[in-house]
């Protein structure tokens, strides 16, 4: 077993996903299959190869510190399920 049911449930919780019992079971099996398959990568000899943080080999892509127009607050809030007084309105996050 590459990953336990508890680990799958924990990751689901962190991602704010709710699974039923049989779903957790199914995903645990699927994720184990995927992770076992990925193990094939470990067979490659990577001695002396630097870890790669990015798939492109470019470095240093920068912008200058020049202000550009922002969206209007109305446009920024257009997709918000709820908004009030120019703010996004969300369920209260502290007691």
């Amino acid at each position: 077993m590459k990953i336990s049911r508890e680990q799958v449930a924990w990751v689901a919780h962190l991602a704010r996903l709710e699974f039923k019992e049989d779903e957790t079971k199914k995903f645990t099996a699927q994720m184990n299959d995927i992770l076992s398959y990925m193990d094939k990568l470990s067979l490659v000899d990577t001695n002396g190869v630097e870890p790669l943080a990015n798939a492109t080999l470019r470095k240093n892509a920068f912008r200058a510190d020049d202000v550009r127009d922002s969206l209007s607050p109305d446009a920024s809030l257009a997709n918000a399920p709820e908004a009030r007084g120019g703010f996004f309105q969300v369920p209260k996050v502290i007691e």
Binding site: F62, D65, S70
Partner: protein, 478 residues
């Protein structure tokens, strides 16, 4: 049993760039809510962040100023968590390869000098601002701050007292402001501090269980918060209890720290490399550019002032508390050629007048040239120190030159010995009794004659000349 506090501070400093770290939205504080937002900082699908080069410049400056090792290659990572102030569901930060590490700053407290280590400095984006409504089950989100560039300065757990913590913070604050990379405004949150604090029995190497302190938005509150927390943990340990690892909020009004009962206490950030940003590589040329533009730092300036101008370390400390003030003083010292007098006038009258008006030296109506000229006039005896007090205030209120004020007020000292002697003869002639008493040994009366002379000359007599002349005339037995 005696306990020793172990304190490590994390400082978040907002950088003084015009735009955010990954998009061109303005970073200006106090704008209408959500008016500085765009698809990138709102976390819309499909957008790509592009790094603001100035953020790296500023980080490199701070790294050099704090003696860090600069890693030539660094990359970004995603720190994953859900909170409404973070629209993407992750914060772009740096994890495995920080751009700067292993630095230090020197601090000084009553207990003496100490060196405090800096673990690392890295770049990240700020989160938005939440406003909570007491009367409704809602929170309101302003994403203007989302994506404002921060550097996080993680300190080693080298600090042992609340006083040292405040000294360390002041040192970092001073360097950031001197470098002009952060405005240092703690109330607006441009300079924020979290503290990790634990206690351990003196002599023990292993750390105790720590609490993380948040919400201390002034140097004083950091010190008070830590002092409280040291006492709290000491009480728990002495009564055989166990310190719980948790985040605690400083309550300024109540003067206590309170457990922050968060629904999501167990953090699991699942950092992974940010695929949308390429690594940053700093070459020699870039480092040299930054190095050659580094200003003199406050501590260096302080030491130079003491040796170059022969002023006390305390005075040097006051005069270097800001870059503009230090420049002002140096200009006055250079133009007048009298650094000590320059230090006294800047620290005395000028700072007092500025403080009364809540102004900074940049707004000072007295130019360094005018102040220097006035100091020269005292030195050559044209005006007395007492006149200078009036002149400095008049220069401050009117912005005029000392020459103009002297002329308007008719303030020039009487330095003509004959004129002064004539005035004194008159006074002695009018007060024969006092003259006799003085000559009979009543020395205290000398002050009386000085007073009379000042009155007669309307304060314009050169005090030194007056003293000398008066002594001479009084000792001449007629």
């Amino acid at each position: 049993m005696e306990f020793e506090p172990v304190i490590g501070l994390e400082v978040h400093a907002q950088l003084l760039t015009d735009t955010k770290i990954f998009c061109g939205c303005s970073t200006r504080f106090g704008a209408e809510p959500n008016s500085h937002t765009c698809p990138v900082c709102l976390g819309m699908p499909g957008v790509l962040p592009v790094l603001n080069k100035k953020v790296v410049d500023y980080l490199l400056k701070m790294a050099m100023a704090t003696h860090c090792t600069i890693n030539r290659e660094s990359s970004f990572a995603r720190k994953n968590y859900f909170y409404p102030d973070l629209p993407k569901g992750y914060q772009i930060s740096q994890y495995a390869e920080p751009p700067a590490e292993h630095g230090w700053v020197d601090i000084e407290t009553e207990a003496g000098k100490r060196r405090i280590g800096i673990t690392r400095i890295h770049m990240e984006e700020d989160a938005g601002k939440l406003i909570h409504d007491e009367n409704s089950p809602s929170s309101y989100v302003d994403l203007n701050r989302t994506g404002v560039p921060l550097i996080e300065i993680v300190g080693d757990p080298d600090i042992r007292t609340a006083e040292e913590a405040a000294a360390y913070l002041k040192r970092l604050h001073e360097i950031l402001v001197y470098l002009e990379i952060c405005d240092g405004n703690m109330e607006e949150g441009s300079f924020r501090c979290d503290a990790n604090i634990s206690l351990r029995p003196v002599g023990q190497k292993a750390f105790g269980t720590r609490a993380e302190l948040k919400n201390m938005n002034s140097f004083r509150n950091v010190q008070r918060g830590l002092e409280y927390e040291i006492k709290r943990q000491q009480y728990i340990l002495e009564s055989g209890g166990v310190v719980v690892q948790e985040t605690r909020l400083w309550d300024d009004a109540a003067g206590v720290t309170k457990s922050m009962r968060s629904k999501e206490e167990a953090h699991d950030y699942r950092y992974f490399p940010e695929p949308d940003l390429v690594p940053v590589h700093v070459d020699d040329k870039w480092l040299e550019e930054i190095r050659s533009a580094m200003p003199e730092l406050p501590l260096e300036k302080r030491e130079r002032f003491v040796s170059q101008y022969q002023i006390s370390p305390y005075d040097a400390g006051v005069l270097t508390s800001g870059r503009a003030l230090a420049d002002y003083f140096e200009e006055v010292a250079r133009l007048s050629g009298q650094p000590k007098a320059a230090a006294n006038w800047v620290m005395g009258d000028i700072l007092r007048l500025l403080n009364e008006d809540k102004k900074t030296v940049v707004e000072c109506p007295v130019t360094p040239t005018n102040l220097a000229r006035m100091i020269t006039l005292i030195q050559d005896g044209t005006i007395s120190g007492k006149m200078a007090k009036d002149i400095s205030e008049a220069m401050y209120t009117t912005g005029k030159t000392p020459g103009e004020i002297i002329e308007e007020k008719g303030l020039v000292q009487i330095t003509d010995e004959n004129a002064l002697a004539a005035a004194l003869s008159e006074i002695l002639a009018k007060n024969p009794d006092q003259v006799a008493q003085y000559r009979a040994g009543k020395d205290k009366l000398f002050g009386f004659f000085v007073g009379q002379a000042m009155k007669a000359t309307r304060g314009k007599a050169n005090p030194q000349m007056l003293n000398d002349l008066l002594k001479k005339m009084l000792s001449n037995q007629e």
